[in-house]
Subunit: 356 residues, 2 copies
């Protein structure tokens, strides 16, 4: 039986990427060595890094003003690395609070400068994206989380402001085209739409750097990694390589326009069933629904557990919701095939009929 | 023809580890999913992390006072994370300068407190380990680099002092038994003796933490990772898993005592030939020679290049020296088989005979 991976992250990767990755572990580019044991300064690894960077630039159509970095430490490291590099103590940054990840970013930023939380949806357990926000024009930057993995909400458009944007796109990176020119920095842990855990993508506008007066450790200064093309120290070679393969897969499958269309069609299958089915209820308000993480609850916890067991038996894996919201969560990233989502929707319908 | 990997890092891993790693990329523990796409909260990944931690504790015979962490960012991140967590601005830490990595650690530490460089071998291009060092007893800690990958020197014993030790063991971790009770913290990038690039081992004495007054970002506070068993955020799952397999391989092959004996015998093959051969000359003074990285030069650069070409043709790979020292470097970590080193020594002898 074919199995489908609905895990929120680390998450499903294209099967052809996995097969190429496994082959490289046994014998990398016919070198006779595993990719796990070759020098990061070797011709082939340098070429893979260059290719990964080029693919990010190509997919987002980046201008020469932007640099692409492959770092370590996850988005959680970016939470403090960003204010450390962008925010002086007497300056104010704006943050939109749309959930757990936003809150962590806000907490770290407060240690480096002033933070203005310009909007929050916390009072409704983050089931919507704040709109018509009053955003002061003198903010150093405005930080937001484009997609909220835990709560299943997603910004449908960029915040309306002239303030420079900084965004945690961990869970919807490469899922649709974006106007990157509005951003000073975009970051994303790889382990949803881009690759395995262990590498973090940073897209940064070079001219926006160098405005803080504090000491920034060499490893935390983005300019270190720009100058060294993400090889100041040993990079996470394999995670970067698998990300490169996934970026190539995105390109080969039509790029971000095609991903967006596919993701819209895939999400529609599930949201249509959610709207129809009397046993399940979505967490997010309709207009802010995420195309990446569909969060929903059943009429009772008992019923949810019964349904989760049934899913598992049918090869639908990783559907248990996050404890903050409970219930179920279907993460339906780029690489998850529509047939898996259809199978889940069909099972929801069959389950409702049985219970009727 | 069998090939041998003398790369300084990322470096040779046991073939059986590589084969298990490749299998896990295709199908992790018969889950039907790749290890690259399963949740870090899944039973199997949590079990692998627990097993990795348990193996480190067992191999070094750690007491309950010590915690084992698998982090990201490489040893280069530890260079600032250590003083940030251990050194107040008015306190002094001692550093022994034995090369490029020590210097980077010293540079970052100076931003957080006072640094006393108690000894240095820089005036002789780091070809020896300082001895009979005057170490003030009131230092917060004494930091040193146990093995110098670039220069091919290695501490043969622990520094003589009552000061608590902190050590960068990136390139000789798990190569021999160590009295860990002398240390407040030991750290190592995995990509030499432990696993692929992308994960950093930290062994830390819990009671030594919590003595600094500055703000430490959540992700940089070792206590965050202790409390969360290295899963505060998504860990580098695959790099950790391959490290676990390598630790298991070390255990299955007799543990650290056996590794030490093997490493001594392996290094002797090469150093004996170096001492005998008139065409090559070792960089390190004899008594401080590294059992991990053998650095040497030929009588001319032309001859070195000719020999390097010859090595490559014979399947001996990764022998080019670091630009700071030049010449050749044979990295002969745990997983490199003695037969590869014998082949290199034989080739050096044959080369000398040809040139005579």
């Amino acid at each position: 039986m074919k199995k489908y991976n609905f895990s929120a992250g680390p998450a499903v990767l294209p099967r052809e990427v996995i097969e190429k990755a496994a082959a490289s572990v046994l014998n990398y580019n016919n070198s006779g060595f595993s990719i796990l044991e070759v020098s990061h300064r070797s011709k082939d690894v340098v070429a893979a890094m260059d290719q990964a960077i080029a693919l990010v630039k190509e997919l987002y159509g980046l201008s020469d003003e932007y640099e692409v970095l492959f770092l370590q430490g996850g988005a959680s490291t970016q939470f403090f690395q960003i204010p450390m590099n962008f925010l002086n103590e007497d300056e104010t940054a704006g943050y939109i609070n749309t959930g757990a990840w936003s809150k962590k970013a806000i907490k770290d930023a407060k240690a480096y400068g002033k933070v203005n939380v310009v909007a929050s949806s916390e009072e409704q357990n983050f089931n919507y994206i704040p709109k018509n926000i009053n955003i002061p024009s003198d903010l150093k930057y405005l930080h937001y989380t484009s997609n909220n993995t835990i709560f299943g909400t997603q910004f449908q458009s960029l915040p309306e402001t002239d303030v420079r944007l900084i965004c945690d796109m961990s869970s919807d990176i490469f899922s649709k085209p974006i106007d990157v020119s509005r951003f000073d920095l975009i970051y994303a842990g790889a382990q949803k739409n881009m690759g395995p855990a262990g590498v973090t993508l940073v897209i940064v506008k070079k001219s926006a750097l160098g405005t803080v007066s504090r000491y920034v450790p060499v490893m935390l200064d983005y300019r270190t990694h720009i100058e060294n093309v993400s090889m100041y120290n040993t990079p996470p070679v394999f995670a970067m390589y698998v990300s490169m393969l996934t970026l190539q897969w995105i390109k080969d499958n039509g790029g971000l326009e095609a991903m967006a269309k596919r993701n819209e069609a895939k999400a529609k299958i599930l949201y249509d069933e959610l709207d129809r089915n009397t046993l399940f209820k979505g967490h997010s308000v309709a207009e802010d629904r995420s195309l990446m993480n569909v969060t929903f609850t059943g009429v009772s916890e008992e019923m949810e557990n019964e349904f989760l067991d049934r899913c598992k038996k049918e090869g639908l894996d990783g559907l248990k919701g996050h404890r903050s919201v409970g219930g179920l969560r279907a993460s339906i990233y780029n690489a998850l095939e529509a047939e898996g989502i259809q199978k889940l929707a069909d099972l929801m319908r069959a389950f409702e009929e049985e219970k009727a």
